[in-house]
């Protein structure tokens, strides 16, 4: 094969970095599907908005060393608020309707948001520079690996753990998990399921936007980034299991790593590879690797 | 006509049906009763092939049907109605029954003939039998619950079954509707010489037409016999102690 071990390791680490980005987006998608039963096509759009908003906040705080960190906090929150409002005012009206209508609504959002971004920020590529403290690279086995990527690789599991803790140990988390299992039962127990749904949509969107905010310094912010990412997110949640949290984590690792290593082995087919895995999973085990088996 | 042996089914560790065996003779009218959660619907689903058995055998009209799929079992002459009214809401009453007739007559793969009046007389005959002849043009989904149940009966009859499995045929009906429905079911069963096995919660219904009653509790058959025998049965009384509708 002719690749040195250190080169492969670096590729692997790149794969892990991508996996963490994908995880943030897919986790939000998964929780929205698990609780609301809606497959949110617009998830990639919120990711994109997160990146654009980060650019905006960074431009506001020009010359401040904290510009990036301020953006990482503010941008996802702002986008999540938009998501919450959309759910509350529009998506909610479609809950009684057929699933197809809900899906198409999220697609309508994709269309609207992508053009909205074009209108506000134009069609050119934008970029955001990395924060001071995370510039430069570290040496791993003689090769250079960006510090920023290390940060992402470490951040991913932290977010996962925080999330897991939230879902398992806090009251809200438990209610959300209950809603995923049986929303009618929860409603009859006196819980305001509607507000819970808005909260879940808010959280899911926040995660996607966080992904976008964090990816801003390392990717080009441009129109079309919403479509690229949503398909990958779909693949991840299918492989991992729609509605399963750790399945999403596992799925992200698989997709991220297979893609990066696949490029080394079969560069032209790595994309096909990923789709093939998705198809295999859907054929053999449609509820995903860690999902719950369906009745039929 | 129908014989089941040692049927067993569990869901994620919960034993829903725990080794149930019984048989229903030709032209017999048999009721299956039991408290909620006893496993009646599950049992029906196992018999008709909607659910896979863990173990056991189902023999219908002398043929083992355990491994057959639902649509194959239907073609052998086992008709069924479902607990929640199960019709084709966007089709008219006529079209609902006609579809079943089309299938029964083996025309389902015909993609060329205009279907408008195909088997019209046969369809109308069935509609007459279930008392829906004057509603032929009504859209299924707009019917009242009672009429939908009648339509369901019509659809089941269109497949010319030898035996009917009715899952709570009078659920959600008023006393008057219940009487009318039971009268209808009884009349059709006798006229067509059908075998009937039905589940019910309403005891007055059960005791009015059932020739034999089987009692299911927690996945097990705890009693089987003539209505008066079952009424006196200690185990049955215990199971129903305090439950409304027990006479």
């Amino acid at each position: 094969m002719g690749y040195s071990l250190s080169f492969i390791i670096i590729q692997l680490l790149n794969g892990l970095t991508n996996a963490m980005f994908i995880f943030l987006i897919a986790a939000g998608l998964s929780i929205i599907f698990g609780v609301l039963g809606v497959l949110n096509f617009a998830h990639g759009s919120f990711y994109m908005l997160g990146a654009y908003m980060t650019f905006q906040v960074v431009s506001l705080f020009v010359n401040s060393p904290f510009q990036f960190w301020a953006a990482v906090i503010a941008a996802p929150l702002a986008v999540a608020v938009v998501g919450g409002v959309v759910e509350r005012t529009l998506l909610r009206r479609l809950y009684g309707h057929e699933e197809l209508n809900q899906l198409l609504f999220t697609y309508a959002l994709v269309l609207i948001l992508s053009d909205a971004a074009r209108i506000v920020w134009g069609i050119g590529q934008l970029s955001v520079s990395r924060p001071e403290v995370l510039r430069g690279a570290v040496q791993i086995m003689g090769q250079y690996f960006p510090k920023y990527n290390v940060f992402i690789i470490l951040l991913g599991p932290c977010v996962a753990f925080l999330f897991w803790y939230f879902m398992l140990r806090t009251r809200w988390g438990r209610m959300i998990r209950a809603a995923a299992l049986d929303r009618e039962m929860l409603g009859s127990l006196g819980v305001d399921v509607n507000r819970l749904f808005t909260l879940v949509f808010f959280i899911g969107t926040w995660l996607a936007a966080l992904g976008g905010a964090l990816v801003a310094p390392v990717a080009s912010i441009k129109p079309g980034m919403d479509l690229e990412v949503i398909i990958n997110a779909f693949i991840v949640v299918v492989i991992g299991g729609l509605g399963s949290f750790w399945g999403t984590f596992l799925g992200s690792l698989i997709v991220g790593v297979v893609y990066s290593l696949g490029i080394l082995v079969v560069p032209r087919l790595s994309m096909v590879f990923i789709y093939a895995i998705m198809i295999l999973v859907l054929i053999i085990r449609p509820w995903g690797l860690l999902g719950k088996p369906l009745r039929r | 006509m129908l014989e089941v042996r040692e049927l067993r089914k569990s869901f994620a560790g919960f034993l829903a049906v725990a080794g149930v065996s019984f048989s229903v003779a030709r032209a017999e009218i048999c009721a299956l009763i039991g408290p909620n959660g006893a496993g009646k619907s599950t049992l029906f689903n196992l018999i008709t092939g909607h659910l896979d058995l863990d173990s056991g055998q189902v023999i219908f009209d002398g043929r083992p049907v355990t491994s057959l799929r639902a649509h194959q079992i239907c073609r052998l002459g086992l008709g069924r109605s479902f607990q929640r009214s199960n019709i084709f809401p966007r089709l008219t009453v006529f079209e609902n029954v006609q579809a079943a007739v089309l299938s029964h007559r083996g025309r389902s793969l015909d993609f060329w003939t205009r279907v408008g009046r195909l088997f019209e007389e046969e369809t109308r005959e069935i509609l007459e039998k279930v008392g829906l002849a004057d509603q032929a043009r009504a859209v299924g989904g707009t019917l009242s619950y009672g009429f939908q149940k009648q339509l369901e009966l019509g659809i089941a009859l269109a497949s010319r079954p030898k035996m009917l499995l009715l899952d709570e045929p009078t659920a959600g009906m008023s006393a008057r509707e219940t009487r009318a429905t039971i009268e209808l079911i009884g009349r059709i069963t006798r006229e067509e010489g059908l075998t009937l096995l039905f589940t019910e919660h309403d005891m007055s219904v059960v005791f009015s037409i059932a020739e034999r009653i089987m009692v299911l509790s927690q996945g097990r058959l705890i009693a089987s016999g003539r209505p008066d025998e079952v009424r006196e049965n200690e185990a049955v009384r215990q199971v129903y102690f305090g439950e409304a509708g027990c006479s």
Binding site: L39, L90, L94, H97, E99, L100, N101, L103, L104, A108, L109, L111, I112, D115, I231, F234, I235, V238, L242, M271, V272, Y275, I279, L282, I283, P286, R296 | H50, R69, A70, H71, C74, R75, G79, R80, N86, I87, F88, R90, L91, E95, A99, L102, S103, H104, R107, S108, D110, F111, W112, T113, R114, V115, G116, L118, R137, V139, G140, A156, S159
Partner: protein, 308 residues
């Protein structure tokens, strides 16, 4: 439906008159509408009649387009034969893909159709030697006997007319009725003795066949074919067309295709923000006119229809 027997011939006759106006604009637009109308009609067989939501119909459209293009350009076959073979290619793909897809339900079905569609796109995108990759296949000329746009218009109209006739017979047949029962209540349909999965597969294959025919026409009409013909956004657009026109009516998809393509043409001459307009239209549709244009019109006229 006998009183509607005149509708199809009338429509075809109407369309046949259009080139007499001499307007190149309308000839071009209507050829486009007929092609996408056929595509949408094929999708509606799955969606409105059998109740299967597929996000992957672009795969068959694309396969038909590429097959036709390759057969005409690289194999030198005559156009008619290429088109027919392209349709068969689409049907063949639908048999294979459909076999796996109908084993699943609802959202998993939709996702698998999407996944297969994306694989088709990825193959079209990456297999440079066969499909020309990102550059696609270009320079597909009209066959000599369809020399002009007008000739091609009439040919497309003929294909559309024949397809609509066949599809109309299908949905008005016992098989069509069974498909509708599957749409309304698959569980119940099983218990009138129907092998539901078999019929779903049949619908899938017929749908793929006509989608591929539309794709073949598309390739020659545009003199080229590119990978983005297979991209999932094409599937979404056709879904929108079907919904816009009304998925519970036979002619709905055609109406939807006409409306959407006309709107797109008009809007894009004023602004670049067509997605924004489309998204808004879609929202209006979903919130206020869920049964589409035809459904809305039908509801307004007294007496709702029964089947279809």
């Amino acid at each position: 439906m006998t009183k509607k027997d005149w509708l199809l011939p009338a429509l075809i006759a109407l369309l046949a008159l259009v080139p007499l106006t001499g307007s190149r604009f309308y000839i071009f637009l209507l050829t486009d509408i007929m092609i996408f109308g056929l595509f949408a009609l094929s999708l509606n067989l799955l969606l409105g009649y059998t109740g299967l939501v597929s996000f992957g119909q672009a795969a068959y459209f694309g396969i038909g387009a590429y097959a036709c293009a390759l057969l005409v350009k690289k194999a030198g076959l005559n156009f008619l034969l290429s088109l027919a073979l392209a349709g068969l290619c689409g049907a063949a793909a639908a048999v294979i893909i459909g076999f796996f897809c109908v084993r699943l339900t609802k959202i998993y079905f939709a996702m698998l159709t999407l996944a297969f569609s994306q694989i088709v796109w990825a193959i079209a995108f990456k297999w440079n030697s066969l499909t020309g990759g990102d550059n696609g296949i270009m320079g597909i000329d009209f066959p000599w006997y369809l020399g002009s746009k007008v000739h091609f218009y009439y040919f497309t109209l003929a294909v559309l007319a024949l397809s609509m006739f066949l599809l109309h017979r299908l949905v008005g047949s016992p098989m069509g009725r069974i498909l509708m029962t599957i749409r309304d209540n698959p569980e119940r349909t099983e218990f009138i003795g129907i092998n539901v999965k078999l019929f779903q597969l049949i619908a899938f294959v017929v749908s793929g066949l006509f989608a591929a025919l539309a794709g073949g026409l598309f390739a020659v009409f545009n003199h080229s074919v590119f990978p983005d013909t297979c991209y999932w956004s094409v599937s979404a657009e056709v879904l929108i067309m079907t919904l816009l026109g009304g998925m519970y009516s036979f002619y709905g998809p055609l109406v939807g295709a006409a409306l959407l393509l006309y709107l797109r043409l008009e809007v894009t001459s004023y602004t670049a923000y067509w997605p924004l307009i489309l998204g808004t239209i879609l929202c209006l549709l979903l919130f206020f006119f869920p049964s589409g244009v035809i459904g809305f019109v039908q509801d307004r006229l007294a007496g709702r229809k029964g089947s279809g």
